[in-house]
């Protein structure tokens, strides 16, 4: 028994020490550094151009999935992000961008996306893609989306992730925010993202 403990105790101790030694950053959201993959995608921009992550490196990025017909979560989240960015010092506001990725490409054409994102400020850019492109990105971000039954007018609901993924200017995953967090928390974490950039 003593021999067993003499083997097991150091292993458990090493595991405990390893789990405690974390390079802490005081995020208000959830730390996803080293947990989630870097920013990487091939999509279609609101200008109708094929784009990938390279187009958006160099700025702190907040990525969010949704659709323009969304009644509550998407406009609420985008408004919250716009307000959080407005609370930053003016000279730093252009160092942040919000990528709103529509998972409803059949309704959200580039023109429609552009009209929608313009409403929330210059930092917000709309993206969408083919089913394959969207599935690949959503899967990479460990999320999902799906479509409800269409009503007699052809309207349907879209279920989607409500997470906001924060990346630094190099496209490295940093923080996962919730759309219902206080705006001051969002601003706080965007400032940390800028520092990490």
């Amino acid at each position: 028994m003593i021999r067993v403990i003499s083997w097991v105790a150091p292993i458990l101790l090493a595991l405990m020490v390893a789990s405690c030694s974390n390079n802490d950053v005081a995020w208000k959201g959830s730390d996803i550094r080293g947990v989630m993959p870097d920013l990487s995608f091939e999509l279609i921009s609101e200008s109708g151009l094929d784009v990938n992550q390279e187009t958006f490196l160099g700025k702190a990025t907040l990525m969010f999935f949704g659709f323009t017909n969304c009644p509550d979560i998407c406009p609420g989240t985008l408004q919250g992000l716009a307000s959080a960015i407005e609370a930053l010092p003016e000279e730093r506001q252009d160092e942040v961008q919000v990528l709103f990725v529509s998972v409803d490409p059949s309704r959200d054409t580039p023109d429609r996306l552009k009209a929608y994102t313009d409403f929330f400020g210059p930092q917000v850019t709309g993206l969408t893609g083919t089913d394959d492109q969207l599935s690949a990105l959503v899967k990479r971000m460990r999320a999902t989306y799906g479509y409800g039954e269409a009503d007699e007018n052809g309207n349907y609901a879209v279920s989607h992730s409500s997470a906001i993924y924060g990346f630094n200017a190099d496209g490295e995953a940093q923080v996962l925010l919730r759309g219902n967090q206080p705006i001051s928390d969002l601003t706080h974490d965007i400032q940390l993202l800028l520092q990490a950039s």
Partner: protein, 274 residues
């Protein structure tokens, strides 16, 4: 389509492909040697095998990633049901018979009986530690912060599922090892039943806690989106019930099997002349 993996994994292909091939070959070798495997053992093995593969490497895995209660079904299968069925089939002799004769088999056999493998194996199969690891893993992966990261990181997700499956195999082998405790010096039946109690009671408590908790313990499923619309609390309650009740029932069923073996053994002892 439903049988295709949601996330392709070479580990799953190699493990299940290799094990399946060895078992099929082993069945044939034993049959040719005049000692065919009983049908019930073949059925138990393939049922456990298909269940484990299905929850890990088909579209079921998609639903397990985006529904808490289906995730709990996945772990119930990996840690309990499939592992119990596989170990109840006592597959080791068949798998060994299925390994092609030659130098490689000799090297593998020597490696498996070497101190490098045997010492860690004996440590993790030391009954109190094996029970602690078994129940500890369930608690560990259900800690909200740990669960959050495991569902976001694909490598960690694989570690979670494989650790549950492999630990299930190790634990239920300790419990279901068919060799006689008297002759083969395996764990006595009484101690096996105590170990099952030891792991079952905390699981009941954890399941009850999840069911009755008013807080949303696993908001990762809200954040990443659910496979279909369901109230988050309903998802949590269903997941809690699946953590609470079926593992306890399976533990009781295994105890019944052990009691039957114990009675069978004592009858044999009585019959044997002194």
């Amino acid at each position: 389509m439903y049988l295709l993996p949601y996330e392709f994994s070479w580990l799953a292909v190699v493990f299940f492909g290799g094990t399946g091939l060895l078992f099929v070959r082993g069945q044939r070798v034993l049959a040719q040697a005049g000692t065919p495997l009983p049908g019930w053992r073949i059925a138990l093995f393939w049922l456990g095998f298909v269940l484990a593969y299905s929850v890990m490497h088909t579209q079921f895995d998609y639903f397990a990633q985006f529904m808490f209660f289906i995730h709990r079904i996945q772990h119930l299968v990996l840690h309990h049901l499939a592992a119990i069925l596989l170990m109840a089939s006592n597959p080791w002799k068949v798998l060994s018979a299925g390994f092609p004769e030659g130098r490689t088999k000799h090297i593998v056999a020597r490696a498996l009986s070497s101190r490098v493998i045997q010492i860690p194996y004996r440590i993790i199969q030391f009954p109190p530690l094996a029970g602690f690891i078994f129940v500890g893993l369930i608690f560990f992966w259900l800690m909200p912060e740990v669960h959050f990261k495991a569902m976001l990181s694909q490598p960690l997700y694989l570690v979670m599922n494989w650790s549950m499956f492999l630990d299930g195999i190790l634990f239920w082998w300790l419990i279901l090892d068919p060799r006689s405790p008297v002759r083969a010096k395996t764990l006595s039946f009484g101690k096996r039943i105590i170990v099952i109690w030891f792991v079952t009671v905390p699981q009941l408590g954890l399941g009850a806690y999840i069911v009755t908790s008013p807080a949303n313990l696993y908001d990762i499923y809200d954040l990443c989106g659910r496979a279909w619309p369901i109230a988050p609390h309903d998802d949590q309650v269903l997941g809690g019930v699946l953590t609470w009740i079926p593992p306890g029932m399976m533990g009781v069923l295994v105890m019944v099997v052990l009691l039957r073996r114990m009675l069978h053994q004592s009858e044999q002892t009585k019959v044997r002349p002194a």
